[in-house]
Symmetry: C3
Subunit: 483 residues, 3 copies
């Protein structure tokens, strides 16, 4: 398997041949090969292209992409397209729309609007996954699979999810009295007399309830991804891997839990460029989902490593400007290499840019790719190629590599959720900062990084089974910020 | 009656034995007695404990609290628990949920979500009030009653309230033409042809309409509290008093009107501590419901005095940090006494801390009590005890006391509402400041206070019956900021 | 015709005799005449006065206003009152309420809440328009008509509008595949399989879709105004004109398109006064709908000229303070004349203040008129009169006048909408600035103005038919900011 067992670091890009205004598949693949790219991710965003009408499949267009990649020694990560349902499905089944806390259903028209816990959604998703896998899983270009994409975007308030939540509590607590006691529901007259007394989360003010609700939301994200992975595995060759790409900032995600049944952890690392990559930078992040400072990127990589305590794939990262049209900060010369080397040093086995070609349409038209809008290789392409040459020169240097760590630091998704509900620190204007957990955690992390201390992030869950002496052996210095 | 006729200032705390994780009633009461606390407020937040299932009552748990208090000479203010309805009631009758201006019903899960004007709510409320009162009104520890809690939190847009509003206008105006003229409804084509033409307040832009609507909202709050008080009085001994505790910042509240049928005015005075209590402080308030500056606390006390032009009870005030977890400003040494003496000097007959014991769960987990989370008396307890000793030393010093006043100042809830709708002053960012009335009023008040001028607040309604000469006699200097 | 063919500049005010608390028609008209006012606008806001009950008309009250104006040589612009529907209509037909993007219907109680595309609305509107026109179109005081008022306030999401939008796409594109290609709907799985797959705009994230939607919204505004104008023209004498007054900042408005079937362009020019009118001012606008700087007012005038490339009417502009109660910036001495002369120099043929008399009630109580609240002429009246005297002295000076222009500048409503959806520049806090188009455009315009360069604004649509050589002939220098 190219990516999993390669003695080389993989370099690549998300590639959407189907988005191009004019035919240019061979041009693109030649340019990739010439720049040292040896992996692409394809197909995860276009269910409507795979299945233009209900039950009518159109799969052949992918064949020549895979053939072209194979011909140039480029491995392919094939995506399942379930994160963006086609308009015919949204029209036929408006009940699939996610209901938010305010009681309103998300209007269709972006992506990730569907309640993936709904059995009806599952039946449609399963059909398209099986159609794609049956056709392409034996194609020799395919090195692995990405199921879905950046899961956990929403906290889902649909009725069936709330009912499942109640059922999970019923199996967790032996009686309503046990729940009353555990959550302290005497307070403000919240004691249940019956399981059906459990109030919907929309109006909830109990921190104990909220934490359970958030844990449950992460669990259903995990269950969904695990369900997809199990279908894919029916078709998978032993040397192919199954992963999903994580935006680690998603609200309904426990990266430890979700990766427990995947082969390799994959993450999307977006970061501030230009002066943000100065060692001393104290700029604010440009977006909640983007890090600032080299230390911030280091933290992102260490989070990815922590999910499985193993090396990982970077499925998306900056090529040029990232985000919306009003964010125009392309990298300075050399910064792509700076970031790439940092990711490798912290455990990345693959670096994939998002994306190959800046788009001619759509919401992300101004999110820059390796190629600019006109498709002509320019400065960014040249920088990527230089980095590709360097990786080739590394050869098998990273075989068996494990990133250094001077200390251990405990990361806890549960603590993050708890401190979102009852934030312990304030913003400058005096209101509560829902990002309190990260602020505290990052203050430590920045200090480590800027003083040359490398950290091993460990999930609270990963320490549970250890005896005290094992714990001390493994982590002589172990910090627990805001746990 | 302990509180009403005592020659001593009362000192106490809200006490929720039912919130404690472990049994500690005797420990708590002993600690209170030792600190000089002679009054507690109990029971107002736990309808679900009083009535765990529809029609199933559980009252006995209160007996030992009352017995324990009595044994130590601690008087008890018994609360009716109607401000927080139990989950079984919310589940059986979702139509009781308050509808807000945006047309959405408040999700159950905090408190004060129920439309207290609904006859169904009233029947449930009456049943639990009668059950509690029948059992405990003769208990010798009980010195008085608090009905409901901090009423007037919402502006209620439920259909029945709007219909009652229309009915009240019909009785106030002899015809729609009279209303058209009074409200100036020619403007923007708003003239009614029929009473049913009156549009719901959700879309209203007429200031005349809005003011009537707000006055009506305060009136229904008053009517509800008066209704509860009248039930309680059926059980009340002559020496027991009936009050409710007011958060004076509530939007649907006219403190003059609501106190007109209560025995004594009670208010909750929260204030900024630490540097906020510096005489020269010009810090912004930490929350809309908390005052800043000694002058701000003085104003709170004078508002309480003004409600009935009589001395009053402070039913809640800071012990330690107040508000959410991100507000961590416990008092400096001595500030509890500073605030306490100020309240006494402006007419308080009782000071009750909120609350005795920091909570182990719930939305107010980080709202500090006299005791910290571990239940072990610490610095705050010591300060409270010192203040309790001082009060004991005062003895009957405050008998017949009436706070000084150099000038009179008119306060008008109606003006406050009018200036919320059409604010005359802007915020720093240029948008309208709905808090304009208070800003203007407080600018005067701060000036008075910082220059040693004590004021007697009077409600506009309290002056209506006076002749000009009576007015001049009573208030030789009378200011009317932003009337 | 007074306004259209007069050799004098017209000066006037919006006049609402029906809003006055006491009878003062003759006083008002005498004061106007004495100040040199020779035009008033009347009647556009009071459908409920014209038709107090469904089908019951009350028209006579206007007769004496027209008679009184005629007697003093004051021309009258008669308004159709369709922008503010009466309460009986809102009550009988709640389905007329506009539905916003959030799915909620606008509550009735201000104005412009009705879906003017609804056939039912049209039938009611037609009836009242015909009633008013039949009675007053022959009155010799009437010089012209304003249909509706400041149209295009809302983006209308009602079902029938969305269906009309789909129909317009069906006629514009020959198939869904053509639309899929034109809008790039492969992206994020948005390809339509059928016209009914088109998703409602509430959830849309496609910029191509959004631009079409916004263009469609402007088109229905145009169609509505054109429909009203065509009814009015059935009654109109040849020397009477038909216009509507535009708030150029309205979201659903293409001023070029809407004026294509009107006789004269009319606009409402509100501007910051006091230091805002300093030549070097760099103050921020006080409201999104108000300009800052003399250059900003110049830009407003040039926009009005551009709509028809012809001189225009200013139907509303500052007399005293404008906007809400917290905006209190009446003009310095002389500023009304400063602004008036500027408007004339850039092509205004009429200047009408909004409004004659500050109102005793309603949402705009603190929007100052020529007369203050007490109705006694004061400083503003004196300034207006001085300006009126100056205009009288000008006589026919402006006959045949065409404002100077050193350069041409292209204005594009479509570009403005596109850049609202994908703003290219950020606000100070880093978020996207939906006002990006105007910011870019205004940066150029301010530079022109402050360096003595006068510009001719031209709509992109006005250049389409020109050959390159015609274009160069007409605009040797032609700028296209943010096109």
């Amino acid at each position: 398997m190219l990516v999993r067992s390669s003695t080389r670091i993989s370099l690549g890009a998300a590639y959407y041949a189907e988005y191009q205004a004019a035919e240019r598949l061979d041009v693109d693949l030649d340019l990739m090969a010439s720049a040292g790219l040896n992996v692409v991710r394809v197909g995860e965003s276009v269910w409507s292209k795979w299945e233009p009408e209900d039950g009518v499949f159109s799969l052949d267009w992918m064949t020549r992409i895979l053939d072209g990649a194979l011909a140039r020694g480029i491995g392919v990560i094939l995506g399942t397209p379930t994160y963006a349902i086609p308009p015919w499905l949204a029209r036929k089944h408006p009940e699939l729309a996610i209901r938010r806390r305010d009681g309103r259903r998300i209007g269709w028209g972006a992506r990730q609007e569907a309640n993936f816990t709904d059995p009806l959604f599952r039946s449609y998703a399963e059909r398209i996954i099986r159609a794609i896998l049956a056709k392409f899983s034996h194609h020799p270009a395919v090195v692995g699979y990405q199921v879905d994409n950046e899961p956990g975007l929403e906290v889902i308030y649909n009725e069936n999810v709330f009912e499942d939540f109640k059922a999970s509590l019923r199996s967790q607590f032996e009686s309503v009295d046990a729940l009353n006691a555990a959550w302290g529901l005497t307070y403000w007259s919240h004691e249940l007399s019956d399981w059906d007394d459990l109030w919907p989360p929309e109006g909830n003010s109990s921190p104990q309830y909220d934490l359970s609700w958030r844990e449950f939301q992460a669990r259903i994200t995990h269950e969904f991804i695990d369900w997809e992975a199990s279908i894919v595995r029916e078709y998978c060759a032993p040397e192919q891997f199954v992963t999903t790409c994580l935006a680690y900032s998603r609200p309904s995600l426990n990266d430890f839990e979700i990766n427990s049944t995947l082969d390799v952890a994959s993450g999307n690392a977006y970061f501030g460029m230009q002066d943000h990559l100065d060692f001393e930078s104290d700029l604010a992040p440009i977006e909640p989902w983007a890090s600032t400072g080299p230390w911030g990127l280091e933290l992102q990589a260490d989070r990815m490593y922590s999910s499985k305590q193993a090396r990982f794939l970077v499925t998306e990262t900056n090529a040029a400007t990232v985000g919306s049209a009003h964010r125009n900060f392309p990298p300075y010369d050399g910064q792509l290499e700076q970031a790439g080397v940092l990711l490798l040093a912290r455990g990345a086995r693959m670096i994939e840019y998002w994306h190959w070609h800046s788009l001619p349409f759509g919401a992300e038209t101004y999110w820059g790719g390796v190629l600019p809008h006109n498709g002509v290789p320019g400065r960014i392409y040249k920088e990527v190629k230089a980095f590709g040459d360097k990786l080739a020169a590394f050869g098998d240097l990273f075989d068996g590599f494990r990133p250094d760590a001077d200390i251990g630091v405990i990361y806890s998704n549960a603590s993050k959720w708890a401190l979102e509900f009852q934030p312990p620190i304030a913003l400058a204007d005096g209101t509560a900062d829902r990002n309190s957990y990260n602020r505290i955690f990052q203050a430590f992390y920045r200090g480590f990084s800027q003083h040359g201390v490398q950290a091993r992030l460990v999930h609270a869950e990963q320490l549970e089974a250890l005896s005290p002496s094992e714990l001390v052996d493994r982590h002589p210095v172990l910090l627990a910020p805001a746990l």
